[in-house]
């Protein structure tokens, strides 16, 4: 029996969704709930610099294999931002180094044991490099977006512009909501992003392998 005050978390589900950080953990927690996928363990594995160190640690954490060494985890899906690098190839190389069988393309799952899926944000159907782009696309017809786009136009004229316009726009959109939250993940938990938008169809199809 687990100690409720113990922060250490053994793997409980044989389906693992590996995401970058807390924001993604919150976002995908809400999205999986929305599409009725309850049996899934979300693990934070960091971005392009940390994934190579986190994956081997995840692989040996208690519960990834059964105690007798036989496989327990049947599905492992990795979701990462594009971030300007060749994210898919980078993830594939790290997976291969750790002995996993990666899929041939973004959005697919391999037939390995465990089955490995890779999804590079924001997907192939929209422009952008990160989760925020997907979130903004899902609410592109929301009345608040007029204000958000005007704000974006305004800041683009400044001498010192935000490093990431997508992040700035996402924060601005959240600031237009009745109860302001400061991250896209918390915004997802408040249902501020439109999970029923066709924009999310590619991602939801990828996640449907966990059903």
């Amino acid at each position: 029996m687990a100690n409720p005050s113990d922060p250490m978390t053994p793997i409980k589900s044989n389906k693992i969704l590996a995401v970058e950080g807390s924001d993604e953990e919150n976002f995908f927690g809400a999205l999986l709930k929305h599409i009725n996928i309850a049996d899934c363990d979300i693990r934070k594995v960091g971005g392009k610099d940390q994934f190579k160190d986190k994956l081997p640690a995840l692989k040996i954490s208690r519960g990834f294999l059964n105690a007798d060494g036989t496989p327990f985890v049947t599905h492992l899906a990795i979701i990462r931002d594009e971030n300007g690098d060749d994210a898919f190839t980078s993830v594939v190389n790290i997976l291969k180094k750790e002995g996993f069988t990666p899929p041939k393309k973004h959005g697919l799952h391999s037939n390995g044991n465990p089955k490995i899926g890779i999804f590079i944000m924001p997907g192939t159907t929209i422009k952008g490099t990160m989760l925020e782009d997907l979130c903004l696309e899902s609410v592109k017809d929301h009345p608040s977006m007029k204000c958000v786009n005007e704000f974006a136009s305004c800041v683009c004229g400044l001498e010192t512009r935000p490093k990431s316009l997508s992040k700035a726009k996402a924060q601005t959109f959240l600031a237009t909501q009745p109860d302001i939250v400061n991250s896209v993940g918390l915004g997802a938990q408040k249902n501020y992003w439109d999970f029923d938008s066709p924009t999310l169809d590619e991602l939801k199809k990828f996640l449907s392998h966990f059903k």
Binding site: M8, K54, S61, R62
Partner: protein, 351 residues
């Protein structure tokens, strides 16, 4: 220094092999997964030609009795027909060491009538032993450096008395520290005094108790410490984990170039003391050339181990192994310092 340990049929363990052992090794795992048995196996191998060691191990387990009923407790499933095998490889020389522990049965006397089992043509001669009461253990030690030199010793009860035969000294030395032996200082301290190493021990203890300036045995053999108070004080009463610290310090000093086994390291230690004790163990292990094997259930102890390993010179030599068990199958999972730090940072269960 041991590089590999292999165990078969010892107590709860059916078969377990641990490779890539470091200079300082922390074993974790759930209850009844064989952590203490693992320490015992190393203890038995260190003293492979001292047949009394298994009795000491049972004493540490709360079984301080000499009785024929207890010989079976060493064997897997209490079945003495399957011998215990403990093997190891030495890191630098690749020497292979093997200890076999078999049941010892009373030798039939010349005028003892043969049992019907023995004369039955349907039974092999060896089977006759199982019809007699087990009266002890027989230990056979071999080394790949001198494979023809098989050293056999035995411990058994004869006419109601504990008897040993074949005991020999060995080069490798080690000590087992567990919650029952923590206050067993008298002999080790006398040895430190005899070797004129008291100042060095006090210097080590200053890491956890800066005010300590002297240690001495009083007229009744009680160890007392000078920590600047008007009177000397037994370390047992000083708190702050000083008793555990002193036990480990004396053990590591007394067993330089040897092995120190510590069961339930966290016992009686607050988190901050665990950090200090790990820093000390890691430094002493390097400075005194001691290989350390410890067990813990505590995540605080694991974190202290990981953080302390970070600050020492030989972080690559500090390893954590999780022992896993499913039914009769055992395996070990190795964590290097880097993997352990990544896991703890993410709160992923390592135990």
């Amino acid at each position: 220094m041991f590089n590999t340990i292999k165990i078969k049929n010892l107590r709860s363990i059916t078969e377990l092999e641990i490779d890539n052992l470091g200079q300082v090794n922390l074993f974790v795992g759930q209850n009844s997964h064989g952590k203490t048995t693992l320490l015992e196996s190393i203890f038995f191998l260190i003293g492979a030609t001292n047949p009394k060691l298994p009795l000491n191990a049972n004493t540490f387990r709360g079984l301080p009795y000499v009785s024929n009923k207890l010989w079976e407790t060493y064997f897997h499933n209490m079945d003495p027909t399957i011998p215990i095998e403990i093997g190891a490889q030495i890191h630098d020389t690749m020497e292979e060491q093997l200890l076999l522990i078999r049941p010892h049965y009373p030798k039939p006397t010349a005028d003892e009538p043969l049992s019907s089992d023995v004369v039955s043509p349907s039974l092999a001669l060896g089977d006759s032993e199982t019809t007699r009461e087990l009266d002890g253990l027989e230990l056979t030690y071999t080394s790949s450096e001198d494979p023809t030199n098989q050293i056999t010793s035995a411990v058994y009860i004869k006419n109601g008395n504990l008897t040993t035969e074949g005991t020999k000294e060995r080069n490798i030395r080690g000590v087992f520290i567990n919650p029952l032996t923590i206050y067993d200082w008298k002999i080790k301290f006398a040895e430190v005094q005899r070797k004129k190493q008291l100042d060095e021990v006090i210097s080590l203890l200053k890491e956890i108790e800066p005010n300590i300036s002297d240690l001495r045995l009083n007229e009744v053999g009680l160890l007392e410490a000078d920590i600047g108070l008007p009177k000397l004080m037994p370390p047992n009463l000083m708190g702050g984990g000083i008793a555990k610290f002193l036990s480990i310090a004396l053990a590591m000093f007394d067993y330089q170039n040897g092995i120190v086994l510590i069961d339930e390291l966290e016992n009686g230690l607050q988190y901050s003391a665990q950090h200090k004790i790990w820093e000390a163990i890691l430094n002493w292990a390097e400075g005194l050339n001691v290989q350390v094997f410890a067990t813990t259930h505590s995540i605080e102890c694991v974190k202290a181990f990981s953080n302390s390993a970070d600050t020492t010179l030989f972080e690559s030599k500090a390893k954590l192994f999780r022992i896993e068990r499913k039914d009769e199958k055992f395996r070990s999972v190795e964590y290097t310092k880097g993997l352990l730090a990544e896991s703890l940072e993410s709160n992923w269960e390592v135990r």
